[in-house]
């Protein structure tokens, strides 16, 4: 009797690509906010990656390669369904950001104690409500623990863009969490 065997391609793919499933799954979960959709997205990503495995340049960043496949799959599947624009309206976001920054400047005490009362679902909801580009960097940096450099490679953008999106993403997130805390009747001074 022989042990379970695979084709060389499958063996190589499973050895090199599948260990990064958690990276993709967590991103998919936070982007779709739905476990079943995340399952589908991860599976679709790996199947596409497997089909194009000969296109992957060995020795390059496989995590970035897989991430880009997933990002494209996500865009094709969800953005079309939602009929969302292809890019974030930065001017609108900037205006919103400036507004909330002004509001925040009036806050004398940070609402950390109120945040502590928030449910995990509130946090997940606040993250999923972020505009896509900001949500992506927050997920990759603050949940998945990637460096700025790796995020820049994933997104094929400058480090400065990563930093500014992260800054704005966290600020938007804080504003939403503050609103949730107020809505739930937790004391938030300001």
């Amino acid at each position: 009797m022989k042990a379970v065997g695979k084709t060389p391609k499958q063996h190589e793919f499973e050895t090199e690509a599948l260990p990064h499933a958690d990276l993709l799954y967590n991103y998919a979960l936070r982007m779709t906010n739905n476990a079943a959709d995340a399952d589908d997205l991860v599976q679709e990503t790996f199947l596409k990656a497997f089909r194009f495995w000969d296109k992957y340049e060995k020795g390059t960043n496989i995590r970035a390669w897989l991430f880009r496949i997933m990002k494209n799959s996500y865009i094709n599947r969800y953005r079309r369904e939602a009929k969302e624009p292809d890019t974030v309206d930065y001017e609108e976001i900037q205006n919103f950001y400036n507004t909330i920054r002004d509001e925040r400047s009036d806050t004398h005490d940070t609402p950390e104690s109120a945040f502590g009362n928030l449910l995990d679902d509130d946090l997940a909801g606040a993250i999923s409500a972020l505009p896509e580009d900001f949500r992506t960097v927050v997920i990759l940096c603050d949940i998945e623990g990637l460096t700025y450099e790796e995020i820049a490679e994933f997104l094929d953008c400058p480090l400065g863009t990563v930093r500014s999106r992260l800054h704005r993403g966290r600020s938007l997130l804080r504003t939403r969490l503050t609103k949730y805390a107020r809505d739930r009747g937790y004391a938030v001074e300001g």
């Binding site: 599948l18 799954y25 927050v138």
Partner: protein, 274 residues
Amino acid sequence: MNCTEFDEQITPAVDDRLREDEAIAFRDHASVCPACRRSYEAELSTRNLIRQRVHMVRTPGSVAASIVDRLASERTAGTPAIFRRWSPSVYRSVLAVAAVVAAVYLISSPGFSDDPGFPAMREDVFAHSIVTYAGVMGGQMKPDIESAHPDVLQAFFAGKTSFPVRVHTVRDFTPVGAMLHESGGVPLAQVLYNAGNTTVYVYQTCWQTVQDGRKLQLPTRILSALRSGSAYVEENADGQTMVLWTEGQTLCGAVADMHTQELLAHLDVAPALK
């Protein structure tokens, strides 16, 4: 450092990415500008809140398993259209089945590489299957009968063989057709079962003839296993599996493009695997 410059440095400061000189300037400004300091503290606490409360989750085992299964089914994609003559729904698996039959034969016959005389190998039950399936895939041979009804296929074999032929139940699979060919004057009864894009190929021949080794042959180690009443299972490097077992006067073989445990789960040969 002014407030605008400070604001641009908040995020790298939160993530501890400032150079020492930048960090000193940043702290100096924060010490004299309460509004900027609060902005820094707000982002820091938000970042910490996420890191403390939102955790990475493991990919569900079911997802990982499904990926592996789908990768296995992907590997037969892209088969040339020539193989689609018989049945588009099963050609991929038929191709895979032929591959495993060939692979198992190579594994099972040490003399293969030393004796490439093809006529002699035709007497081997595996080699015969290769020939048969090459013909099926090439369109030169078709199932003698196509039916999803086991009783119809059973009737097809009636009275045509010296050994009992049974149309087995393959769990979750539906029969699609049957063939009867001869190898060295000994009939080889074959039944195909299909589920989605996967095919299970079951063949049966005369067990006594195989043991005699004059018209049909099996490697000694397989014969020994079968004579002891055990089923013989072999999986090749491509994850394709063959199971051989005996039922009275009949030698049965099942081949499929699936791993051992998966194929066994579809077959009712558990008693012979003890």
